[in-house]
Structure formats: structure tokens, C-alpha cells
């Protein structure tokens, strides 16, 4: 479910933080920048694991802050394909529609909210997936949407060769439709998957 991601970044420490120990100040800045944010093609960043290397700090003319290149490892939520996860149903849409067993459920992960959105019931048995119930599912696919603001001329086309260069901005400052930057598509059409209560008697 969680992986360690090795990253390199230049951290800016403003002068009013110079009294802090460098490690502490850098850890704070990194967490401020990355915690609870989705990095494109990498996953949802949780917290700093450790700092592996600190290079020299430089001060540039015109800016009183120090800039330090930091190599560090970050704990990121990024389930691998075929992993089994347990989640909770937050809400379901179109409840009560009967359809075949092959319908996948969608797991939307916005910045602060774990959303469960499922569309159909199992047709064969009258098993309802009520809100608040825990569900076991297998990760079938993941979708990263680049939600960085686009320029006026062209839409942003982020290729997979540029991972990590855009962190998703908080939804408040984009006037466009709120899209989840990271979505997991799961499947429950296998024995053992679906509501935990279906299998635990």
C-alpha cells in the first residue's frame, strides 16, 4: 500500500527560520510542500521518511533565504496493481439498479476525502452495499490526472517522462471542475471481494 520514493529537491529556508536546526527546518519545509498532496504518476505523499543527503546551502543575490539541495525519501501511498485493499463505502450512486457481476467500483481519492462510488448491485444475489460498510477490492487500474493550472494558449500535456514536476494544487484556487488528481479503479468480481460481511460468516 505504501512505498518509499527517493526524491531530490532544492529547499528554500527563509531567514526567519535560520535559528532552527537545518534538518528540522528542511523537514518542515518538505512536509509543508508535499504532505497530503498527489504527485503526478507517483501517488499521495504522506510524510517524510528520512533525509539521505544534504548538499551545500547557497544564498543568492536579491534573496535572503538559503537554498539547499536535499536528497530524501518520502512515504507515499501508491498501491501496486492487483493489490487487495479494504475501504469503506462513503456513498453510492444509483443504488438499486440491478446489473451483472462484472461492474467495477470506483474509488475516488480527492485531497482530503476517501470517497467510494459504486454504481450497481450484484444481480444474482440481493446483496446491498450499504454506506459505511467495509469493502475488500483488488486494484485494477490507477488514473493520474494532472490538475495543475493550464496556460491560456494550450492545454498542459504532461508526458510520463516528467514525473513529479507538478504537484496538484488545492482545489480552491482553480475555477474549473474539481477532478480527483488520483483515482483507483477497483474490482470486486472475484470470490472473497466485496463487502466484508458477505464472506465473514
Amino acid at each position: 500500500m505504501f512505498v518509499l520514493v527517493e526524491m531530490v529537491d532544492t529547499v528554500r529556508i527563509p531567514p526567519w527560520d535560520f535559528h532552527k536546526q537545518l534538518n528540522v527546518a528542511i523537514a518542515e519545509e518538505l512536509n509543508k510542500k508535499l504532505a497530503n498532496k498527489v504527485v503526478y504518476k507517483v501517488g499521495l505523499c504522506i510524510c517524510l521518511y528520512d533525509i539521505t543527503k544534504l548538499e551545500d546551502s547557497y544564498i543568492f543575490p536579491g534573496d535572503g533565504a538559503s537554498h539547499t539541495k536535499v536528497h530524501f525519501r518520502y512515504v507515499v501511498f501508491h498501491p501496486f496493481l492487483e493489490e487487495i485493499l479494504v475501504g469503506k463505502i462513503k456513498y453510492c450512486s444509483q443504488e438499486g439498479v440491478y446489473e451483472s457481476l462484472q461492474q467495477p467500483a470506483k474509488f475516488d481519492e480527492a485531497e482530503q476525502v476517501w470517497l467510494w462510488e459504486y454504481e450497481t448491485d450484484e444481480g444474482a444475489h440481493d446483496l446491498y452495499m450499504d454506506q459505511g460498510e467495509e469493502i475488500r477490492f483488488r486494484v485494477a487500474d490507477e488514473v493520474f490526472i494532472d490538475t495543475s493550472p493550464t496556460g491560456p494558449a494550450a492545454a498542459a500535456t504532461d508526458t510520463p517522462a516528467q514525473p513529479g514536476q507538478s504537484t496538484a494544487p488545492p482545489p480552491e484556487d482553480s475555477g474549473e471542475k474539481k477532478e480527483a488528481p488520483y483515482t483507483l479503479i477497483g474490482t470486486i468480481c472475484e470470490p472473497g471481494l466485496g463487502l466484508l460481511s458477505w464472506w465473514n460468516n
Binding site: H78, E83, W199, N200
Partner: protein, 144 residues
């Protein structure tokens, strides 16, 4: 910012749980700046993750338990991902094992599956409330 290695290592739920509880202790001690705007995100993600993880079996594990579990798992020839999932989920039925282990019908016989269930429930501590409820149900079953 550059990502050097997007999958440097896999972490078990227990490791993340321990890291977050230690971080929480540290922040509680340092006191002052928890509520500044910059730290809100970290607070939120820590709270949500800890809330989720404390309900999973990982909250009752320790480094020794994990080490012992992995040692007993060695002869069974499971992949790293499968052992990680067993550690995180603590399956108690054959259906769950078949789900977590790929092609379990071909790789594992029924006795081996039973053995795995046994190892898992011995090595990894379970939910004391659930075990009490099970014990009560058994007693009720015997009495009726």
C-alpha cells in the same frame, strides 16, 4: 523537484503506522507551530492515515512479530508482495488466502493453505474484541 526512484522500497502498514505515531509524539512535544497554515496538510493526512491504520491488524504488530512472521514464511516460497499483503491483512479463511496469493490452487495444496492460516493466526496478534466475540458465540453454540 525530481523523482529519483518511484519505488525504492515497499513499506508494510506497520512501518508507516509506527512512523506516524512517532512523528505525532515528536510534534506533541515541540508544541508551538502545529496549527500554522503550512502544517495543516500534514496534520490532516496524519490524522486520516492513523485513523485508518489503527483499525487494521498492523496496529497490534511489533518489529519482533514481523521478523518472526517473515522467518516462518520463508520456506513457503511466496513473493514479497504476497507476504506483504498477508502481513497487512491477516487472512483467516481459505478464501482470503486464495485471493491474496496468485494461482494458489496450483502452488499450494489444501494442507499448505491451512498451514498458512495457522501461521498467520499464531504469529500475528488478532483483534481481541473479535476473538472475545467468537469465543462467546462458541460458548453459546455449545450451550444451546
Amino acid at each position: 523537484m525530481e523523482v529519483k526512484n518511484a519505488r525504492a522500497a515497499m513499506l508494510s502498514n506497520y512501518e508507516v503506522f509506527k512512523l506516524l505515531t512517532d512523528l505525532k509524539e515528536q510534534r506533541k512535544d515541540s508544541g508551538k507551530n502545529k496549527h500554522s497554515i503550512g502544517q495543516q496538510n500534514l496534520n490532516t493526512i496524519m490524522y486520516e492515515t492513523l485513523k485508518y491504520l489503527s483499525k487494521t491488524p498492523c496496529s497490534r504488530q511489533s518489529p519482533e512479530i514481523v521478523k518472526e512472521f517473515l522467518n516462518t514464511m520463508m520456506p513457503h516460497k511466496l513473493t514479497k508482495a504476497e507476504k506483504l499483503m498477508l502481513l497487512n491483512h491477516r487472512p483467516q479463511t481459505a478464501v482470503e488466502i486464495q485471493l491474496l496469493v496468485e494461482e494458489s490452487e496450483e502452488r499450494l495444496s489444501e494442507e499448505q493453505i491451512e498451514e498458512l492460516i495457522q501461521i498467520v493466526s499464531d504469529a500475528l496478534p488478532g483483534d481481541p474484541e473479535q476473538e472475545n466475540a467468537d469465543a462467546e458465540m462458541e460458548v453459546a453454540g455449545e450451550q444451546s
